[in-house]
Symmetry: C2
Subunit: 336 residues, 2 copies
Amino acid sequence: MKATIYDIAKEAGVSIATVSKVLNGKGKISAETSKAIYAIMERLNYQPSVIATALTGKKTYTLGLLIPDISNPFFSEVARAIEDQGEHLGYSVIMCSTDNKDEKVERYISLLQQKQVDGIIIATGIDNKDIVEQLLAKGIPVVLLARDMPLIAVNTVVVDDYVGGCLAASHLIGLGHRKLAVIGEKDSVRSSRERIRGFRQTMEDHGIALQEGFLKTCDYKVADGKKKALELLQSEDSPSAIFACNDMLAVGALQAARAVGKKVPNDLSIVSFDNTLLSEVADPPLTTLAQPIEHMGKLVVNMIVEELHGSNKVKQRTVLRPELIIRGSTAAMIRS
Amino acid sequence: MKATIYDIAKEAGVSIATVSKVLNGKGKISAETSKAIYAIMERLNYQPSVIATALTGKKTYTLGLLIPDISNPFFSEVARAIEDQGEHLGYSVIMCSTDNKDEKVERYISLLQQKQVDGIIIATGIDNKDIVEQLLAKGIPVVLLARDMPLIAVNTVVVDDYVGGCLAASHLIGLGHRKLAVIGEKDSVRSSRERIRGFRQTMEDHGIALQEGFLKTCDYKVADGKKKALELLQSEDSPSAIFACNDMLAVGALQAARAVGKKVPNDLSIVSFDNTLLSEVADPPLTTLAQPIEHMGKLVVNMIVEELHGSNKVKQRTVLRPELIIRGSTAAMIRS
DNA sequence: TTGAAAGCGGTACCAA
DNA sequence: TTGGTACCGCTTTCAA
C-alpha cells in the first residue's frame, strides 16, 4: 500500500497535523522534528495524494487544453509548448480534441470541471460564446489561445492574423504578383477571416482588387486545400500566387499545382501560415508566416498560472506578431 | 458555489446516502424518490466531484500517456487515437512528452501516481526496465505501445517491425533494386532495430548482402535523416534505394536526394515506415509501411480499461501487421 | 512547537 | 426503501 500521512505521523511519533505542516513548510516546527519527518518520508517513499489535497480546496495542478485536433501539426506543436511550460511550473495537461464541435467542447468542459482542473486553455473554435462566459462566471480561469473573443473579458494570446495577411500580400505584391488568390478556412473561423481581411486590404492599398472567385474557403485539411486550389488553377484565368491560410491548405495547393503541371515557385507562388513542420518538409519548402508557437505556449501557461495565484487581476490580451519566413515556394513574377 | 451531494439531499429531503445510491444506481430506491432526485440534480446542475469519488478508492477516469514527443506526427496521431477511444469509454488522458529521457519518464510517472491515474500507457523508449516493473509491482495497470519488453509480464501492443522490414526489402528487391541502404534510429531503439533486422534478413534470403557502410543510424528527426542520406548519396558508390525507418527520416532522405540532384523515384527509391501525414504530404508521396495507428490506439485503451475492470487477468501481447502502402517514392530499377 | 478535530464530497456498510 | 456514519488523505483553525 502507498504510504499516507498517517503512516509518516505514526512512524515519527507525531500527529498528522505536524507532518502536514512540514510538508507545506507552514507553522513553526522544530528543526529536529522537521528533519526526522523528512527522513521518514524519504524512507517510506511518501508521495502526498494530489487527490486528497485537492479535496481540501487546494489545486489539482492540472490544466485542460481544448484544441481542434491534436494530430494537426500546428496544434500538436502548440500542445508541446504548453506541456513543457506546464511541466516547468508543476502542471499536467489533459488533452481534449474537439474537432471544433461545440457539442464536444461542452462535454469536455463539463468533464474538466468534474475533475477540478485549475484552468482551461481554449485554442479551439467555439461558436457559442456562452460556453466561455459560463466558465468565467464560475470563476474558472480561462485563457484563449489563437482564438479571439474581444467582447469577453478573458485573457487572450493571439497572433496578429490581420498583420500576417498584410505581410503575405506585401510579399507577393513585392515580387510582382498581381493575380492573387486566397484559400482560407470557412468564414466562421475568425483567425482565417482576419488573415484574409489583412491580405485583401493590402491588395487594395496597392490598387489591386481581389478578383471574384479568387477567394475560396473550406475546411482545414490538405485534401480541402488541394480541391480548392485545383478549382483555382483549372480555370482559364488562373492566379499567379496563392495565399493559403495554413500549412495544410498550402500543402494541398502544392499538390494541386503538381497535379496540373505547374511548377512552384516559377509558375505559381504560394505563401502559407503557421510555420509548422509541414512548411519545412514540403517541396519546395513553404514561404510562410511563422507563429511563435513556443512563445505562445509559454505565455498562455504563465497567464493562467498567474491568474490562479490571484496575482494579475486585470485581463489582458497579448498580440504576437507573425514573422514572414521566406523559403522556396515564392518567387518573383516572371514577366511574360 | 457548485452543488454538492449535500445540497441535493437537503433539497430532496433525503439523506446523502440515498442520493449517492440513485447516483450509482445501487441499492433499492423507490421510483418516486429516484425521479425526484434526478430532477433536483438536473435543476441544480449537479456534477459529482471526480476528486471526492476518487478519494473513496474509486477511479479517477484518467489515463497517463507517455510518448517521446507529442509534436512528432506519429505520436500525435497515436495520441489522437488514444484520446478518442478514451473519451468513448469515459477516460481523459494526460499527455507526457518524455524526449526519451529516463529522467523525465520517472518524473512524469511519479506525478501520474500522485494524481492517481487509473493506468499508464507507455509508448516511449525506456532504458531502465525497473521503471516498468516497479509500476507493475504497485499494481498500476500499464500497457506498452509500440515498445516491447518481452521479458516483462505486461500487456503490449506492437506492430510487427520485423515483418515490416521484410516487406520493405521484398518490395524494393521485387522492383529490381540490389544496392539497398538503410537509415534507422540508434540501436537502442528496439523497433528500429527489428525493422532493420527484417530488412537485412530478407536481403540475405535473396542472396544480397547489406553493404558495409550502407547502414546508417541516427536520431529520428528530418535533419538527421537528411544528413545520413547525404552521406550515402555522396559516396561514389551510392545505393539505388533507401529504407528509412520512419517518415521523418524518409523526408530527410527525400531532401537529400533533391540536394544532390537525384530524382525520386527514378534515380532513387525510398521506402518509409509509419504512414503518418508526412508520407502523404511528401513529394513524391512516400511508399511506406503503414502502422494501423487508429487500431493501435483503440486496442491499447481497451486493454488498459479491461485490466482496470479486473476482467482479463492474463497478460497479452498483440502484434499488428504493418501494411505496405505503395505510393510514388519507389519505382522499378532502371537497367543501365 | 505540537495536536485534536472539523471539514472537503463522496461511498458503502449496517441498521432501522 | 431509507438513513446514520465511519472512512478516504489531507488542510486548517484553535487549543494546549
